[in-house]
């Protein structure tokens, strides 16, 4: 210390002092320019009981970003919502969350919300509005409704809503019934109706069914993208993690995916089998054929029934099916043998197959395969559970939608009420629904956003978002836990909006006693409470509480824990015998054959991982979250096989025009080996003509070019594929994508995998090798990774400090699905801005945590269609290349092993970023923007960085800080698992473990000693604190 002062006194100017002085000069200069605002301290008038300023409060709620119904906790600081995390108690998502769930705050704080009731002033659909008062809005709608009532035309009111699945739907159907209209519907594009119908036919149950992924040994997925948007993705991903690597299981589960397109889910499979689209069911039946003919079927089948099946399946010989499906005969046999030789197996049927004209055939075929293999109702198989409550919602099927123009023309719809059902975005051009809507005398919409459908309304009632409302939600599928998720307002309403229930209760008094008598409640909250008070007596008895006990504590508990659910799964519903006649009819009705002409391509449509059916498109986090397979952000693309592309003479970014019988669309191509040569694929979700600043005018909406083909059994839209012819446009556009190179060049130690056989050999080793934990800061080898490696960069004064922790992370690539939830969670936690399409094109995206996708898993496998995912974040090197090059010591090594970044010290030389071999530092090229009120989400726990600052992952140091402080006050060490960085917290497959490597008993230390461990670019001797566990790719056929 004394030495330093001496050198100052010598008043020499070295570089350090020069910078210091110029820095202070600049600061003083700046001071004279800017007048400092005097800040205010605003006290509470009356303090809230549960609010301590500076300390976050977490409120439980239920995610309504998709129909899964995951439990969430919302972090509230000073009245603002800062972060959403999964609710650890919820049986649906077990504390985990997907990218869409993480992003729900951008719905609440969207700058494009409707803030007041709106009345149309221009022509319909032009988007010219006048803000009106709630009284006026109520008056207008009530008078329209009264007019119908008086003319005895109440049934000409139609109400179309997204599925509500709670007491609110009860209220609405009660309202509609008393008003006198039977036309109250709910609408969802991806609704699983076909699967339910197939379950009814095969097992006599009208529910979706729960696939016990966690406990099964072998998954055969017929196009079921269960790690993406299919069904309940977080629930399935949690199970998938257990399926792959779990301490409680003997063997790692094996997973084979069969589809025409290499989806993210397919990329996670041990093997992807490419199949001609629309033939999935045939393959399933062919497997069944092999199974019954070789006597491998379940023992529960009697001989009589076996004979019937044998006959029914005789048509599906491997030789015949092999040709149609384009899958080698020997693979079909192998699959059949493997499927039945494992103790537990499970076949899934995805929407690629069920959302076809003959969807029911595929769903039934896969059901048969499960049935004949004895998987129904078994552990690790397919079971059916009844939800806690039956929700009485009438589904708006596509036959009805198809008839809408006719009904409108014939005057059967005089008043249309819309709630969050974006029909005009989903409906194919051919239906011309927009034109028909113009003829409806009056349309009122209840919505938070001006989407394509709401835009056509005459009157708009702005709604609370789910995070501002009371409500309950009965998930369709919860694995038998009979769960109901609860919603409560976590923040005060931002605008002059109301909850939907209150709007109906407000309308009721205007509509005469018939309606108003039904609703004595003053608001929806009391309506909800009344219902649950009744329920309380039922479940109170169940839980042994008895009568006469106060309801209030029960109610508070419902809100506090975010709902109610059983502690263990209930008994599965007993299934009935397959309806053989019906099945036989369905099987016979199936006709193979290509859609369209011979020179046409099959264009496959699939739900976008981040945007779902388009509902996520106005959330900038989701727009900028890279698609895992292509790494493209902010736009649409067409996947094309490289050979097809070469034959056509197109390259990446060339725009193709795809024409179907109904219309055309234009999108740039992305060549990928993950698609069949005669097939193209395009994601659903972009192409909004409205909805908000982030969604509008971006990409294309492939749903528009679909023909109106329906699956006859359920009247579902066959949205999964369409025959198109292609034409070059000669135009080009560059993708805003985050991938640099597609293959890892030359490095054998970036993303590693091992074969199933290699992995099985590891079994023999002692599970915990006796090696010392990673070095703290000394860099002296104690890790067992490298021989002596003492850094020349080490700064002794830091390294000599004693410290209790060395933070580290283990990422299990065998669990990691590459879904990118961590990326969005990181944005939400760490005040990361989105930079927009143009900036991403210039590689200026701000990702502290990104998923890298590489092709091929070893050097001999260059043209393999094996995609490998590598979550890449700051490796918190013990021997960090970034640290010694910072001229202002803005980045330095903390005593507990982090590469910290002091943002206010950073001058933006970017030397550190250049020197970082992992490229995990992000530079703010421009001033980040958060249009109000998006800025309310910004966390006060860490700085909001400005332009010109280098920023990076710090393992969520703000969370580490709080835990260390708590520990210090309680005079103890930080407990293992007490700190969860945002990525760890959200990771649906539980792929990431975090903790102190110095604690040999910690989860992370144990995991770091797994024999599959390696460190990325280990040869650089960075002594990183992130340890990866090799992915296992089990293609060994003998392994069964």
């Amino acid at each position: 210390m004394s030495k330093k002062t001496e050198s100052k006194e010598e008043s020499s100017i070295d570089r350090r002092n020069f910078l210091k002085l110029t820095g202070s000069a600049a600061l003083l200069g700046a001071c004279s320019q800017v007048e400092q605002p005097v800040k205010k301290l605003i006290p509470f008038v009356i303090p809230a009981d549960d609010v301590v300023p500076g300390i976050a409060t977490w409120y439980a709620s239920t995610c309504r970003q998709c129909p899964s119904g995951c439990g969430i906790s919302v972090k509230i600081q000073e009245g603002q919502a800062k972060k959403i995390a999964g609710n650890a108690d919820s049986p649906i998502n077990r504390g985990k969350l997907c990218s869409m769930g993480e992003s729900a705050l951008q719905v609440l704080y969207s700058p494009d919300r409707i803030k007041k009731p709106l009345q149309r002033i221009g022509t319909r659909g032009m988007g010219e509005w006048e803000e009106i008062s709630w009284e006026k809005a109520f008056g207008l709608l009530a008078s329209e409704m009264k007019q119908l009532q008086e003319k005895k035309e109440s049934d000409r009111l139609h109400f179309i809503s997204s599925p509500i699945r709670g007491q609110l739907s009860q209220l609405i159907s009660q309202f509609m019934e008393s008003y006198g209209t039977p036309h109250s519907y709910n609408y969802e594009l991806f609704d699983g109706a076909v699967q339910k119908s197939a379950n009814q036919i095969c097992f006599g149950v009208d529910v979706l069914g729960h696939h016990d992924i966690a406990e099964t040994d072998f998954i055969l997925s017929f196009g079921a993208d269960f790690l993406e948007r299919w069904r309940s993705p977080v629930n399935q991903s949690v199970a998938y993690g257990e399926f792959r690597q779990s301490a409680s299981r003997q063997n790692r589960g094996k997973f084979i995916h069969i589809s025409a397109r290499l989806s993210l889910t397919a990329a996670n499979a041990d093997q992807w089998i490419s199949i001609r689209p629309g033939t999935e069911g045939l393959l399933a039946l062919s497997l069944s054929n092999v199974i019954v003919n070789e006597g491998r079927q379940t023992k529960n089948l009697n001989l009589l029934e076996l004979d019937i099946w044998k006959e029914m399946l005789s048509e599906y010989s491997t030789s015949k099916v092999s040709k149609i499906c384009d899958v080698p005969e020997q693979i079909i046999r192998q699959l059949a043998l493997e499927f039945t030789s494992r103790p537990r197996s499970l076949a899934l049927c995805g929407e690629n197959a069920t959302a076809q004209k003959d969807g029911i055939f595929h769903a039934v075929a896969v059901n048969i395969l499960n049935y004949l293999s004895g998987n129904i109702g078994e552990k690790g198989g397919l079971s059916f559970y009844a939800p806690y409550e039956t929700i009485d919602e009438k589904r708006l099927d596509w036959q009805r939608i198809k008839n809408l123009p006719h009904e409108i023309d014939s005057g059967k719809i005089k008043l249309l009420l819309l709630h969050d059902a974006n029909l005009l975005f989903h409906s194919p051009e051919g239906l011309a629904l927009e034109k028909s809507f113009e003829k409806i005398p009056f349309i009122a919409a209840f919505s938070s956003f001006l989407d394509e459908t709401t835009r056509h309304a005459d009157l708009i009632f702005p709604l609370h978002t789910p995070l501002e409302s009371f409500g309950d939600y009965v998930p369709e599928e919860d694995g038998g836990y009979r769960s109901v998720g609860f919603m409560q307002p976590v923040v005060a309403p931002l605008y002059d909006t109301r909850p939907l229930g209150d709007i109906f209760l407000g309308l009721a008094p205007e509509l005469g006693e018939v309606v108003s008598d039904q609703f004595p409640q003053e608001n929806f909250e009391s309506y909800l409470k009344e219902h649950w008070e009744e329920q309380f007596f039922v479940s109170g008895l169940e839980e042994g509480l008895g009568f006469g006990i106060d309801f209030r504590p029960y109610w508070n508990r419902l809100l506090q824990q975010g709902g109610r659910w059983d502690n263990k799964a209930s008994e599965a519903i007993a299934v009935s015998h397959p309806d053989l006649q019906k099945i036989s009819k369905i099987l016979k009705a199936f006709k193979t054959g290509k859609q369209g002409n011979a020179d046409q391509f099959d264009l496959l449509l699939y739900p976008s991982l981040n945007l779902h059916d388009g509902r996520g498109a106005n959330q900038p986090w989701l727009q900028e979250a890279p698609d895992p397979m292509t790494t493209i952000t902010w736009g649409s693309w067409v996947e094309i096989h490289p050979v097809t592309a070469r034959n056509l003479g197109v390259q990446e970014g060339d725009i193709l025009r795809l024409s179907s019988s109904e219309g055309w669309l234009e999108a740039p191509v992305y060549p990928t080996l993950g698609i069949r040569p005669e097939t193209l694929a395009i994601p659903i979700g972009q192409g909004h003509t409205d909805y908000g600043r982030y969604a509008k005018g971006r990409g294309v909406n492939p749903l528009k070019v679909l023909p109106l083909d329906l699956e006859p059994e359920t009247a579902s839209l066959a949205w999964a594929s369409v025959a198109v012819s292609i034409k070059k446009t000669g135009r080009q556009s560059a993708f805003a994508k985050t991938e640099g190179v597609t293959h890892h060049i030359g490095h054998h130690d970036l993303v590693l995998s091992m074969s199933g056989d290699e992995a099985r050999q590891l079994k023999g080793r002692a599970p915990l090798e006796v090696i010392e934990a990673l070095p703290t800061r000394t860099g002296v080898n104690a890790s067992g990774f490298l021989p002596e490696s003492i850094s020349k960069y080490l700064k002794p004064e830091i390294n000599n400090q004693s410290e209790d922790y060395r933070w580290g992370m283990v990422i299990d690539l065998d669990r990691c699905t590459g879904c990118g939830a961590c990326n969005v969670a990181c944005h939400a936690e760490n005040n990361l801005p989105t930079v927009g399409e143009e900036a991403v094109k210039n590689q200026r995206e701000m990702n502290w945590m990104r998923i890298e996708r590489y092709w091929g898993h070893n050097d001999h496998d260059d043209e393999a269609q094996q995609a490998m995912f590598l979550p890449m974040l700051c490796q918190q090197c013990g021997n960090a290349p970034c640290e010694p090059v910072c001229p202002v010591t803005a980045t330095y090594h903390t005593p507990d092993g982090l590469n910290a970044q002091v943002y206010n010290r950073c001058v933006g030389t970017r030397y550190c970023g250049v020197n970082c071999p992992y490229k995990v530092r992000s530079f703010n090229w421009s001033e980040p923007e958060w249009p109000k009120p998006l800025d309310q989400q910004l966390s006060p726990d860490l700085s909001v960085r400005q332009a010109g600052v280098m920023e990076k992952c710090t393992f969520c140091v703000q969370r580490i800080r709080v835990a260390k402080e708590d520990a210090k006050i309680e005079k103890r060490q930080v407990k293992d698992g007490e700190i969860q960085p945002a990525c760890v917290q959200s990771c649906p497959a539980n792929a990431i473990v975090f903790g102190s490597l110095l604690d040999h008993e910690s989860q992370v230390s144990k995991a770091s000693r797994d024999p599959r461990r390696y460190r990325a670019l280990e040869h650089l001797n960075t002594e990183s604190a992130v340890i990866y566990l090799k992915r296992i790719i089990d293609t060994d056929k003998k392994s069964a």
Binding site: L28, V38, K39, I46, E965
Partner: protein
């Protein structure tokens, strides 16, 4: 460290001084002990903390458990003032102001005297836990008629104490 041209450093120092002088007005804002005169109510810590001997934590209730100490709610003020005899308070202009805020159920917009930049993390809780006296940073509040800033809150000022007390001086402890 090798000795470099001293004349250069003098020129440089003069340059810095020049800039410093041009901006001396606003510089004062950061360093002076100036009292902000226009608080909405001329609240006297001297009378509350001094004469009435009300403990700091009675009003700044969050200091022990949170990073922020908290300003008392209007309800808290009224809680006491309600109990004081009406005559004793009648005509006292500042109390009338308080009652008016309470009547309107409006918060009192106090001006912030101690403010830290956004990139700094500071925790009252940890300092109280380490038994740092409030006075160490806020001065003899009990003698101040109107609160004034007695510490610069500069990084050097913080570090001086941290070093003396052997508190952590790792950047990350305070910089966020």
């Amino acid at each position: 460290m090798s000795r470099k041209s001293p004349s250069l450093s003098i020129v440089f120092a003069l340059f810095v001084l020049l800039i410093a002088m041009t901006s001396v007005g606003s510089y004062a804002f950061f360093s002076s002990n100036e009292t902000i005169k226009d608080q909405p109510i001329a609240f006297s810590h001297k009378s509350h903390a001094g004469e009435q001997k009300i403990a700091c934590l009675y009003c700044h209730i969050y200091a022990e458990r949170s990073s922020v100490a908290g300003v008392p709610s209007v309800q808290k003020c009224i809680g006491c003032h309600e109990m004081i005899e009406v005559e004793a308070q009648e005509g006292v202009e500042e109390v009338e102001k308080l009652l008016a805020y309470w009547e309107d159920k409006k918060p009192i917009p106090w001006l912030k005297i101690y403010d830290l930049p956004d990139f700094v993390y500071f925790s009252h809780r940890m300092h109280l836990n380490a038994e740092v006296d409030c006075k160490a940073c806020h001065g003899e509040v009990a003698e101040m008629v109107q609160i004034e800033k007695v510490s610069s809150l500069s990084m050097g000022w913080c570090l001086k104490c941290h070093q003396k007390q052997e508190a952590p001086i790792d950047c990350n402890v305070c910089h966020k």
